[in-house]
Amino acid sequence: MVARYPEVPRLIVIKIDAQRRGVYYSKEALSVFDPLTHQARTLALFGSRDGEVTAKPEALLLRDGTSVLADPTPPSRNPYVVDVVDGRLALTDGGKVIEEVTYWTRPAFYGKRTAFGTLMEHVVTARPQRLNVFPSGYCHFWANDKGCQYCDIVNHHKQSVKELKAPARVRGQEVAEVVRESLLEKGRYTTVCLTAGSDTRGNATFDTEVDFYEEVLSAITEVFGGRPFPSQLISSAFDLKQLERLKTRTGLMSWTSDLEVLNVKLFAWICPGKEEWVGYARWKQRLIDSVSIFGRGRVATGIVGGVELAKPNGYASEDEALERTLEEADWLGEQGVSVISTVWNPRPGSKFKDQQVPSLDYYVRLARGLHEVRVRHQLNIDFDDYRRCGNHPDTDLSRLLPGFGRVSN
């Protein structure tokens, strides 16, 4: 694979495949995992392929600083094995060392409690350089059984509330307290990311969701003296009025709203709730409109790479899926909207749990194609790159991009 695509770094191919196949931690790998030093899995919006919420390593880092957010996966599903070889942690396949890896470092605020008595990691979680605020794991699309078919958000939320005793919802004031505490650890965080399940309630659709984000973002903004701060909101497709409210009243600097799959018919099939409340064409239009508020290179839409091939209604071939997806991504790129992809994990709590993911070749070509769209349309993706996020192979490739339209040294 590395030889077939010499322009794609080997480390990114490894990352993609580890996320595609998942990882299994050997006893030796778990024996060197220290929850007081390394970051263990805690609250997350989505579950994992092994369906457990136990204290396993959160994720891995590669030598180039790239995160590998690979699901813990049962051995029966052919995952990579994280093992200890010659005293060092390594990603292995068939007993062969593929690459050295390290565990993420435990954030200093984990284990502390807020003034309300909540464990801080139940309010804000972390990646190596990002603070995650996931205020609610309930998605209202699930209310009438129209949740996205690849998604396990509500089932995982219920499991987390029960097993981790996590709060069902967090307060803005409490989030700000944790953000302030987290920043006592110097040099750790470069951005704040907010996301939650969709909330369709309100006078206008999603007004309740907007209200909640405004409360949380306003509280965080106060930590930064009322000024804009590196941040990303991943939300439902808000209208212009709702977005203007967030942009003018808070320090939010970028916006992402996920189409999940770039095809009108597949969108309706895979994301019936999104189709019911907004629809594919209107969702796209709202993304495009938002560029006037946040600017080119500050708006993105995420896709769950591979669901376009889900059976029985997905594309019949990987070539066709790739061609159509990149065509649509190119059109969006021309309008100033970046398309970013994740690697699809069929999780046990989702309707697509028994589906097969596409080939590694497909994911490598998808990552390369989405990166080329950004090059063609001169779109930076700084707010959702390897460091601000770490979950998109295509934005890993964009680390080599110069600063389009800005001062570049």
Binding site: D64, G65, G187, P402, S408
Partner: protein, 157 residues
């Protein structure tokens, strides 16, 4: 000097108050970039650490390209007397974790306005003493045809 002695000399120079250092990287399209006043240190295992202050800089992108595609970067250091030149491949980009945060704190202590993008770890593949007097002696001995004749002329009696 032996390889180990050269690494010791490199470490000593970098600890000197008079040290000057430069890093040269090469982009994917072959264009070189040199960083003057590069901040280096040597690890216990003998690798070179380089503090990169600008995430969007050419040098940062070039270092990543070199790490991804196994290409060398070169460096030069001097304390005024001894000059060393070397090259190697970047093997790690420390952007998070204890090592990064240690360098981040050190950077801030020295200059509170400075941010730190990454600490690059470079495997040293070659290190050479290129101090002017040493080079002169070596060249005069081994490549005698490279001298200008006027330098060899003896004064008239």
């Amino acid at each position: 000097m032996t390889k180990e002695a050269l690494k010791d000399a490199l470490s000593q120079i970098l600890q000197s108050a008079d040290a000057v250092a430069a890093l040269t990287t090469i982009a994917a399209d072959g264009v070189p970039t040199t960083v003057i006043d590069a901040e280096f240190s040597v690890t216990e295992k003998g690798t070179l650490l380089y503090r990169e202050f600008f995430e969007g800089s050419r040098s940062n992108r070039d270092l990543l390209h070199s790490l991804w595609f196994n290409r060398v970067v070169s460096f030069a250091v001097s304390d005024g007397d001894t000059r060393l030149h070397g090259y190697g491949v970047p093997t790690h980009s420390h952007v998070a974790g204890p090592l990064f945060q240690e360098h981040y704190r050190a950077t801030n202590e020295r200059d509170n306005s400075a941010d730190l993008a990454a600490v690059w770890e470079i495997r040293i593949d070659d290190l050479e003493d290129v101090s002017p007097q040493l080079l002169r002696n070596k060249q005069d001995t081994q490549r005698p045809f490279f001298r200008h004749l006027d330098r060899l002329i003896t004064p008239e009696a």
